[in-house]
């Protein structure tokens, strides 16, 4: 059989490796793997990939410092760490995108070099990045075999028929039914991820590195991904899994390695650790997961009132009230209409019936009117809607308050500088200078800038839409401390969050959305994850 060197012998793989984990592994399997992925059996063999003393220096930062890490066939090795801990650098070193300054790589006990993506590929290492490396207007087959096209009859031409045939086989292995002629821009995120995984498998990947793969997925899609991961694991693929979600760490992981400031600070097994242990390792100090604050005893005047608000974007008869000094939660499943409430309240989406009142005044028209009434929206997608990421910290801080800061219309550098410095100090934004591009800052610091830009407008009503998304544990506490400080100074806050513990521990009370309507209201005493969930579920 004429087998392309880049394509695993899929027929052999399929017949030799049963999909169920309980299946018996033939000893003479064409693939050298430890059966079932149990650590006990494979421990005798050298690890599939071992990194010793890896160091990587960037100008001004030691991104990795003597990191030692190994992954064995058939295991899921969880890699944890705050943003900036060095996880992505380590991942890029493994995949050959970055070249390590120091350290050694061992593949099945033998020393190897990883100087380029080609080297990593040859060792069977494949990485699935958060930002997919797919070309939108090429089809599935072309994407799977990009850079490794099957040669056609004439030099330079490619054999499309062959590519589709092989692509179909790989998709079949994943149980992913999709016409391989579909251009990937027509696929959803979960489907694109499957194409990425197929691409990795077609490279005969035996070591799969995944960077927060469930971040963009729905619950059902996540379940499917986990099933695929367990199936690959059973086939002896080694998986390095980067995650921010504790539940995944314990659901999937065989082993856990924690990075902090470019160093390895802990290696453990899920059975030997609690979430609190891991958080302590990640941040290096005890962060209270319950975000303590003084709850509001005597709410002030109504800051935001929605009366029977409906909108073309899908919310119906929404009644919500937020008073000064309160943090009011807005919970519900993704797609239940939470963000739509925020957008309608702020004036981004039109309101078809009902009214919105801000501190006693009727809000009409566009968002600029909302800002004049003292309203601020901290949107869900920080980088697209909250910041101008190519601009500096100083520029972004002024973005919303320009009219207030420079009433004459002329820019005054001194005023701008003083304001910027004050904000950086007040909000404890970690940036070397005011001129730093915000794209280079961590998620937590970016979020502080988005909050800061509203402080310049004198806002007293804040709507936070998923303020802690993609932000590490330490920075989350800081963001909540900031929000708590805002309400103590008399602001009213509406907090949208998918993280139930955040709603339970931070909010004075909460509304729960379901299918565009307010499904219920929970007081401080009633607030619990169980109550939030049962109100928000479709079949409750």
């Amino acid at each position: 059989m004429n087998v392309h060197p880049n394509v695993p012998n899929l027929v052999a793989l399929r017949s030799a490796v049963p999909f169920e984990r309980s299946g018996v592994q033939p000893e003479d399997s064409s693939i050298n793997i430890a059966a079932g992925g149990t650590l006990g059996k494979s421990a005798a063999q050298p690890p599939l990939l071992e990194l010793r003393g890896i160091a990587k220096q960037f100008p001004g930062v030691r991104a990795l410092d003597g990191v030692t890490f190994e992954v064995r066939a058939g295991e899921v090795h969880m890699l944890l760490g705050e943003n900036g801990a060095g996880k992505s650098t380590l991942m890029k070193v493994m995949s050959g995108v970055y070249k390590a300054d120091e350290g050694a790589f061992f593949h099945q006990g033998e020393q190897v070099r990883i100087d380029s993506p080609k080297d990593a590929q040859a060792l069977g290492i494949a990485v699935i990045y958060q930002e997919f490396s797919l070309v939108p207007y090429l089809d599935i087959a072309q994407n799977i075999f990009i850079g490794r096209e099957f040669a056609g009859r004439f030099p330079g031409t490619v054999d499309n028929a062959r590519a589709h045939q092989e692509a179909k086989k790989v998709l079949g292995l994943l149980g992913f039914e999709q016409d391989t002629h579909t251009p990937v821009h027509k696929l959803g995120v979960a489907q694109q991820q499957m194409v990425e995984i197929a691409k990795a498998l077609s490279q005969n990947a035996r070591i799969l590195v995944m960077d927060e793969p469930t971040a963009p997925l729905s619950e059902r899609e996540t379940e499917n991904l986990f099933r695929v991961i367990r199936m690959l694991q059973a086939e002896g693929v080694a998986i390095v899994y980067i995650s921010h979600r504790m539940s995944e760490v314990f659901a999937l992981g065989d082993r856990i390695t924690v990075l902090r400031d470019g160093r390895m600070v802990g290696a453990t097994r899920p059975a030997d650790a609690t979430p609190a242990d891991l958080v302590r390792m990640m941040v290096g100090r005890d962060v209270d997961l319950t975000y303590p604050r003084r709850f509001c005893e005597t709410p002030g005047v109504p800051g935001l009132v929605l009366r029977n608000v409906s909108s073309p974007s899908g919310i119906r008869d929404v009644n919500i009230e937020v008073r000064a000094g309160e943090i009011v939660g807005l919970a519900g499943l993704v797609g239940s209409g939470r963000s739509e409430v925020a957008r309608a309240a702020f004036g981004i989406d039109p309101v078809s019936s009902g009214e919105v009142e801000v501190f006693g005044k009727r809000r009409r028209g566009e968002p600029d009117q909302s800002v004049k009434l003292g309203m601020a929206l901290i949107p869900e997608s920080r980088k697209q809607e909250g910041l101008a990421v190519t601009r500096s910290v100083g520029d972004n801080l002024m973005l919303s308050g320009l009219a207030k800061m420079f009433p004459g219309g002329w820019f005054r550098p001194g005023v701008a500088r003083n304001f910027g410095r004050k904000m950086v100090a007040d909000l404890r934004i970690a940036t070397p200078t005011l001129g730093r591009r915000t794209a280079f800052l961590s998620g937590g610091n970016q979020q502080k800038i988005v909050i800061g830009k509203w402080l310049a407008t004198g806002a007293r009503l804040f709507i936070f839409d998923e303020p802690t998304r993609g932000i590490d544990v330490g920075a989350k506490s800081e963001i909540f401390a900031l929000i708590a400080k805002l309400v103590e100074e008399g602001a009213a806050v509406l907090l949208i969050s998918s993280e139930l513990p955040e709603i339970v521990h931070v909010c004075d009370r909460a509304y729960v959305m379901r299918e565009g309507r307010v499904a219920g209201h929970l007081t401080r005493e009633q607030l619990s994850e169980e109550n939030l969930l049962s109100l928000g579920m479709h079949d409750a």
Binding site: S133, I146, G152, G175, E177, N224
Partner: protein
């Protein structure tokens, strides 16, 4: 294990050819309009005329599609064609062999393309600015080497490339068919085309696959330059003269044809069938306007309106 939902199946041929762009509607309107205004419009002779004249534009618009798929642009097309034409003229005037002249024309085009590609890929300069600079340089060189005069003394072989017939088919149509077939093969069935789309769509995909996007980007601009050279040969043949300014501004029609054909400037979205239709649409529009006696200055405005209409139609369709 079939939890990931499948999309409705698309048929393979539509995936390759792409959805029918808004240009189809415009073509219908133009045909109906001009055939009712002037009975000559749909004559066999006039249709062949449209095809022959369109062949030169096609030779520029095909490689322009590749360039635009990379999220680039080449505004030097017309000026490079002028330089190539003058190179051809100089060789022929000096009594050089026809093949030498052809090699000179294609060589000059390729060199300018290499120059463009190198600056864009290696120095990461914006394509518009780089090719604008090249446009000026090529224009200047064409004027210097021709002393600003047409070169009429180019022999009889070159003019036959436009005026001749093979098996009763006009030569420029054969050029157009062969060029289209080769470019189609390049875009849809070769690495060259796949990587052109990838450079525009997601260069990271190439980087992670260990493919040098730079080298391919340079070769795409060089290829475009070579095609401009071939276009120049055909233009010279048509006029029986190498003229230093005749092809100036042709980049406008070439880019317009690509845009009218539905290729977008983003993410490597578009294709050659659209460009072919775009070339025909612009060719028919100009031809029809000629027939009803509209001066060429007004024709340029009409092509501009056509481009804006194409964008509007695409906008409506995606809405």
């Amino acid at each position: 294990m079939h939890n990931v939902q499948a999309l409705p199946q698309t048929r393979p041929w539509t995936a390759t050819v792409g959805r029918i762009p808004g240009v189809a509607y415009m073509m219908v309107v133009i045909v109906v309009l001009f055939s009712s205004l002037n009975r000559q419009f749909l004559d066999g002779a006039n249709l062949i005329n449209i095809g022959s004249q369109g062949s030169i534009l096609l030779l520029l618009a095909l490689p322009m599609t590749f360039v635009i798929l990379t999220e680039g642009i080449d505004v030097s097309a017309g000026a490079v064609a002028a330089a190539s034409s003058v190179a051809l003229g100089c060789v022929m005037q000096a009594g050089g062999h026809t093949w030498l002249g052809i090699v000179a024309a294609i060589g000059v085009g390729t060199l300018f393309g290499l120059f463009n590609g190198t600056l864009i890929a290696w120095l990461r300069l914006p394509p518009f600015v780089v090719t604008l600079g090249t446009m000026g340089m090529a224009q200047g060189l064409a004027l210097i080497f021709s002393n600003g005069q047409s070169i009429t003394d180019i022999g009889t072989v070159i003019p036959a490339l436009y005026g001749g017939k093979v098996l009763g088919i006009p030569a420029p149509l054969i050029f157009a068919i062969v060029a289209y077939a080769l470019n189609h093969l390049l875009l849809y069935r070769s690495r060259f085309g796949i990587y052109a789309r990838a450079i525009g769509g997601n260069p990271e995909a190439l980087r992670f696959a260990g493919v040098s996007a730079k080298a391919w980007l340079i070769s795409i601009y060089a290829f475009a330059g070579a095609m401009f050279g071939i276009g120049a040969i055909l233009l010279t043949a048509r006029m029986s003269t190498a003229h230093p300014t005749a092809s100036l501004g042709m980049e406008f029609d070439a880019i317009a044809a690509v845009v009218v054909g539905g290729t977008s400037f983003e993410k490597g979205n578009g294709g050659l069938p659209g460009t072919l239709l775009g070339v025909l649409t612009i060719g028919m529009l100009r031809n029809g306007l000629n027939l009803v006696g509209v001066p060429s200055s007004v024709q340029v405005s009409c092509v501009g309106v056509l481009v804006l209409l194409a964008l509007l139609i695409e906008g409506w369709k995606t809405k």
